[in-house]
Every structure is written in C-alpha cells, then in structure tokens.
Amino acid sequence: MLTIHCPNCGVTAEETEFHAHGEAHLKRFGPGSSEDDFESYLFMRKNPKGVHFERWRHQYGCGKWFHVARCTTTLEIFGSYSAQTTEPPKEIINHIENRRPDWNATEAPK
C-alpha cells in the first residue's frame, strides 16, 4: 500500500483516499497533429520498472490534482509536487538520484 501526500491540502493518507490517473507530463497532440503523434498521445504509455512519474487526484479529499514520483518495483514514494508544471522539480530529481544512483535523470519527463 502506498502512503501519499497531497501538496494541495497537506494531507498524508494511504492510497485509497486518492486515485491514480496514469503517466504524467504527457504532451498533448490535438487537431492538426500527425496521426503518429496523435496515436502516441492517446494510447502509448510508459510502463517502467522503477522510477515513474504519475498524475494523482485527491479523490475523497480536497479533490485536487497533483504529481507523484515513485518506484514501481519497491513502491517507494520519492515525493509529490504541483500539478501546474510540465516537468518534475529539481528537488524531486535530486532526491531520486540520491535514492537510485543507477537511474538516469535524462529519463525524466521534460
């Protein structure tokens, strides 16, 4: 079970108070984009073994969205951060690098 922190209301609770909404930091391809870009935006998702960045919503709490960086193998949470960003903040990246020296920061979404 994951213990998740919501940066919007300050609550830390187990995962059933929240809802995961899949891969974070997707770039939207809308009308006018190529079919390949549109297909990949709609359907293609990363499924990494290890460090992953996800969108979460505080479903039963304040109702707000945010981001979570976590490890899909150990279920370790590296941190939560604002939904209003297109890439993970520096502190989160630094923290992941400390915890996972083998992880390559260039894999982080940009």
Binding site: C9, A13, E17, G61
Partner: protein, 191 residues
Amino acid sequence: MSDPVTALKGLKNTGGFASISEVGPTGMITLRGDLSAKPVIKAAVAASGVTMPEQGRIGSEGNHAMAWMSPDELLILCAYGDVHDRLAALNKKLSGQHTLAVNVSDARAMFRVRGAHAREVIAKVAPVDMHPDAFTPGMFRRTRFAQVPAAFWMPEPDVVQVICFRSVARYMYDLLGMAAQSRSEVGYFRR
C-alpha cells in the same frame, strides 16, 4: 413554507459503545473562489461570523462555523433558517468577484458520534490517524468513510461530527452504527 426534513428524520442509535445521531437541519453554504483574495476572505468572515480557517481546519463561534475544504473552497455552517439571508449577504459582498456561493443545506446529512471511544468508530472506517496526538479538535478532514466521501471534525473531546452527501445518509448511519457495535471497542487510543 414546508418544514425542513433531514434524510433520516433525526434517527439515533444508542445501542453501541458510542452513540450515533443524525443532526437536525443545518444551514450549509459552499463558497468557491480565490481564498487568498482579500474581498473573498472578508465576505466569508462576515457571512460566517467566524475568522478565516487555516488549511485543514475549522473555526467555530456558537452555532456558526467555517471549514477549509480545499485551496479554493470553504464550507459555512449556520442555523438552517439563516441560510437564505446569509447567502444573499454573501453574494452581495462578492459581486464582481469570480466566486460561487451555493446553499447546499439540503444536499447533505450530518451525524454526531459521541462517546469515550468515538475516535475508534472513525478509525475503523476511514484512512485517518485518529490518535489523540494526531487528530486534534480544530482540525477538519475530508476523506472516505468505507465507500463514501465524508468530512469530519471534533467540536469537543469525545464527539465527532460527520458530514456526508444526503444520498448516502442511510449508508453512513448504518456504517457508523456497525463500527460502534457494543463490545467491539478496541481500546487502541486509551492513554
């Protein structure tokens, strides 16, 4: 005008280790807007008669209260009969502001859980640390109670007040009653 009727007409269960009672009609106003904007704060404070609550907290004054629901939402609690006047005054003060204030009194149900082990009733059904050092009076928490959304606070020691949607009032009443079944207290929070 017709008389206000709560979802369960004030049902009460005193058979368990904590009593569960439905609270009578209560005025509730949801206010959404920028909670850092001075005019919004001023209007909310004037309408509720309570100072602005901090994140995750509730302030009360007599039978009025104001709770922090989310970064852009407040809940004002008042006497049922006052709600129209308070809402009108609130909307007047908020004119020109990008806000939304709505009377939700009849969309909600409220319960009171009372007893020395009232904290245990909540701990059994919600993913919240109910230890007396962790959840203290003045805090206001939105969460889930088993399968439904709920919000609660402790207006006094040994009393928990729970708000949920009216449509799940019966579920909430039965759930709390089951969690409070006589001789099912665990004594986990005993000091």
